[in-house]
Every structure is written in structure tokens, then in C-alpha cells.
């Protein structure tokens, strides 16, 4: 292959260099799969402020970052705890400005996907019918009603959204950022293409030949990727198909333990502040808990032939 330099750096360095305070950050692109918790926790540890978080269904990572005071704005379709409903930190921030006030820009799954798609396609907006008649259309300035230029219909223009950085957790990547992601893709492809920078966090770093053996599975061309981080188990407690399952109990425990502010403060100290790395996090999680999440029955895809 060509002379492409390795983009492999540590999570600490990736956050230090590519996620400054004030950034617009896309996370949780694959919805409940492969949420980049390790990256979010490092962002909390490095004390980032005034972030705008972007994602469809953000699950508890957004709640944690809001609770830690990193966030001034959320643009998402759903903010909570996919196992238990409410996210208490999100509620405290919106309802009581604790630890700080945040702005919420309410999207739907489709409008957030279209906002990223527009940016990925290099155009200022995408047309859609969704949100017509809803209060989301009235309250979200990135949604604007207009008349179709080709017929008599009313449509909504979803303005293109260009995050500063997308953080994607994937199964495997080469050192140049060519990544293989499988399972449900959510808004990962458009989200990465829409963003100015892309950080890929991989369970495994593999040779370029593994990626090039199946170029249809390449998530996005490597030249779009800014940094590659090797951080196994970096998505726990969310699942990584083929690597580990979802730690459902963890989501319920978080829910129960963060109902009150002091509970969250204990939680974030225990699981984030005093845990310097993902390796240390795993140690705290304990072997038996991790073992219970490992793959019990492998299910390999039937290969395809690229030969000629």
C-alpha cells in the first residue's frame, strides 16, 4: 500500500488534541450498539466544557457528560437511559440548571440522520415530510418549512449539521483508519462524513490486508479519519457485536445510583474520575462480570470472493 502514516494514538492524546472545549461532538452514532464510553469518560477526565453533543439516541453517555458539566447544548432525538427511561442528569440540567443550564435542540431520529446526511452529501439541507404538524418543527430552528421546487407539496428542510468531531467505536480498523463496522450502522457513515474530524476507537487493530479483503465493509475511506485509538472494551456497558454483549444491569444500576445529585457525584468519581484508563476500568468491573458478557457462540459470516 501507499506511504500512509499510522494514525494510532492513545485515547488521552486523541481527546487532548481533537476534542477541545467548545467542540460539537457526535457520539453514539450506532444508537445502543458501540457507544464510545471510553472516549466520553476521557473527555470528562480532561475537564472539557461547553461541548455540543450530537447523536440520535444518546443513552447514558450523554447523561454522564451532562452531569459532569461538560455540555452546554444537546442536539438529539432522545436523551435518557435506554434500559430505564429517564436520564436524571439530563433532567437536573434542563429543569434546575444543575450543574449548569443546557440548551436542548430537539430532533427526531430521521431529522438528525438527515441533518448529517445533508452535510455528508455536501449540500445545505435535506427535504423531508417528518415533523410537519409537530411542535419540534416550531421549536427547532434547524427545521424549516418550504414549498417543493418540483411540485405543490409542503416539505421540511433539515439544515446540514457539521460536527467538529465524530467519535465512532468499531470492531476493527487498520492503523490508517480504514475501519470495519458490522451490525446496525445507525448514523455512523453519514455522521463521520459530515464531521470535520473523525476519531475511530477500535476493539482490534488489524493489518490493512484484512480491511482490503472486504472493501464493501469499510465504514469510510481512511483519509477521512483523523486518529485511531485501540481501546478494547471501550464501549462497555453497550454491546459490540461479535465481541461482548450489553451489560443491562449496569444501565439499571446507573439509573438507581444517579437519581440524586450526590449519587451521581459518587458514581462519576468511582467509574470515571478515579479510573485513569480503560484497562483500570476493566479491572474495576471485574473479570467475572466481563466474562459473562463475552461471546458464547460465534457466528462467522460466509466469505465472499473478490478474486478474478
Amino acid at each position: 500500500m501507499g506511504m500512509i502514516a499510522s494514525k494510532l494514538i492513545s485515547m488521552r492524546q486523541a481527546v487532548a488534541e481533537h476534542v477541545p472545549s467548545g467542540s460539537m461532538v457526535l457520539m453514539g452514532a450506532q444508537l445502543e450498539q458501540m457507544i464510545p464510553f471510553a472516549a466520553g469518560h476521557e473527555i470528562i477526565r480532561q475537564g472539557r466544557r461547553d461541548l455540543t453533543l450530537v447523536g440520535p439516541i444518546s443513552d447514558i453517555l450523554f447523561d454522564q457528560m451532562i452531569g459532569a458539566g461538560c455540555v452546554s447544548r444537546v442536539m438529539a432525538a432522545w436523551i435518557g437511559n435506554a434500559s430505564a427511561g429517564m436520564g436524571y442528569c439530563f433532567r437536573r440540567a434542563v429543569e434546575k440548571s444543575i450543574p449548569r443550564a443546557i440548551e436542548t435542540v430537539d430532533h427526531t431520529n430521521l431529522t438528525i440522520a438527515l441533518a448529517l446526511h445533508a452535510a455528508a452529501m455536501g449540500v445545505p439541507f435535506m427535504p423531508t415530510y417528518t415533523t410537519l404538524g409537530s411542535d419540534l418543527l416550531k421549536r427547532n430552528g434547524n427545521l424549516r418549512e418550504f414549498s417543493s421546487p418540483v411540485n405543490e407539496e409542503r416539505l421540511v428542510a433539515v439544515r446540514a449539521l457539521r460536527p467538529d468531531v465524530a467519535i465512532l467505536h468499531v470492531q476493527r480498523a487498520d492503523a490508517s483508519g480504514n475501519a470495519h463496522l458490522w451490525g446496525n450502522l445507525g448514523v455512523a457513515i453519514d455522521g463521520a462524513r459530515a464531521s470535520r474530524k473523525v476519531i475511530v476507537v477500535a476493539e482490534e487493530i488489524v493489518a490493512h490486508e484484512v480491511i482490503a479483503s472486504d472493501p464493501n465493509r469499510t465504514l469510510l475511506p481512511g483519509f477521512l479519519v483523523t486518529a485511531v485509538v485501540h481501546d478494547p472494551w471501550g464501549a462497555h456497558p453497550s454491546p459490540v457485536q461479535g465481541y461482548y454483549g450489553r451489560d443491562h444491569a449496569f444501565f439499571h444500576e446507573y439509573h438507581d445510583q444517579t437519581r440524586e445529585l450526590d449519587g451521581f457525584e459518587r458514581w462519576v468519581k468511582l467509574w470515571v474520575a478515579e479510573v485513569p484508563s480503560r484497562a483500570a476500568y476493566l479491572k474495576q468491573l471485574g473479570d467475572s462480570r466481563a466474562d459473562n458478557l463475552r461471546v458464547r457462540e460465534h457466528a462467522l459470516s460466509v466469505p465472499v470472493d473478490f478474486g478474478f
Binding site: L31, N109, Y129, L132, G133, E153, I189
Partner: protein, 244 residues
Amino acid sequence: MVAAAAREIHDGELVFVGMRLPMIAFVVAKRTHAPGAVGLFENGVIRDTPASELLYTMGDPPNLLKASYCGDMLSVMSLLQQGRVNVGFLGAAEVDRFGNLNTTWGSRNGQQIRLPGSGGACDIASLSQRTVVLLEHNRLRLVSRVGHITSPGNGTGNGWRREQGLPLRSGPSAIITTMGVLRFGEDGEAYLASVHPGMSVEDVLSDTGWTLRVADDLAVTPEPDSTELAVIRKIDPNRFWTKS
């Protein structure tokens, strides 16, 4: 409630499933009267067969294994926008007499509380041919007018959806509660179509936040038959999801 939801799925239909109760309803439908129904999930998954385990989220690994299709969100949402999806299931914090849904702002003890938001609910309510809402029946959930339209039903009545520009073939079809099944009249307003076994009409009316109309031919919701019950008990042996 689950059996009633299952009966909203016809054979061969494309179903936006969602999680928990509707997921169980989908499995019941597949294993009984609708073996050709297909399940769509907005994260990008499409299944001809139900997952091998009960799911907590649509991204749980069993939902991806042996799926017929895995793609991105737009690959599934675009089918919805094309008008191909027959029925979508939704929950809600509040539903009103015209079937409008609120999942953005609630109230508890007179205080505003922030709820998680739309997710894909607004998209499904806007674009699927039929929308079926499942929720607990009480006056705080079934209200005269929702405080915030997260997901449009019939707005203020007949003709409203067309005025807004929503697809002609779309809109609320049923509200299935813990007490009965509500459907929609020509004027776009909900009425009580059936009460679940053991429920009285009076209880339903007093637990509804507006003066609910009652169908002339009000029925009793059919009990789950033995096949349906067997499937439900197999999926949810501890009746965690299917208390009622």
C-alpha cells in the same frame, strides 16, 4: 393488551416494532396469524424472524444475529418515508383525544419534567400508514390536549394532517391501553371501541381526561386465545412485561 396489539399486525405487513410490549406483540403475531410480517428497527435492522431472545434494546446482539438486513438508519427510515411501512407501534407519556403524542415534556406533582423526547416516534407517527399507541390508562396519560405535540396524531381533527402536508395514507389507528382499545372516528377524534375483559365502561370513562365517546357497537376485547397465550408465556415466563 399484548394480544390486542398483535392483532393490529396483518400477515405480510411491514412493522416498525419498537421494544418491550410491541416486540412481544410482533412475536405473537408472527407465531400465530401473521407469519409473513417483517420487523423494521430504526437503527438499521430488518428481521423476517423474531430474535432468539427477548430484547431490552433494538441494538441488543440477538437482534442483529441472523437478521435479513443490517444497514444504516436512513436505509430503514426511507422505507417509512416512502410510505411502505404498514404499522408502527409507539408508547407515550401523554396522548390526547385526537391521538397526538407527547414524549418531550411531562408534569409530576404540578412540576414540569423533561422527558427523553421523540426518538423515532415523530417519524413513525408522521409517516407510517397506521400508528398504534400502547400506554397505561389513567387521566394523567389520556388527556384532552397534550402540552407538546412530539408526534402528530390528527392534530385538531379531520383534515388537519392533510393541511400540514403529512402523507394522505398515514395517521393514528388505535390506542391500546390497560383498559380497552380506542379507535378514531371520521372527525379524527378517538372513541372507545372495546373494553378489556373485566373492565367497566364507567371506569374507562372516569380514568380518561376528556369526555370519551363510546362506540354504539362497543365490544369486549377478545381474550388471548390459547395459542397466543402460550407464545406470550414462552417469551415472558415471569410476566415481567405482560402483567396486564
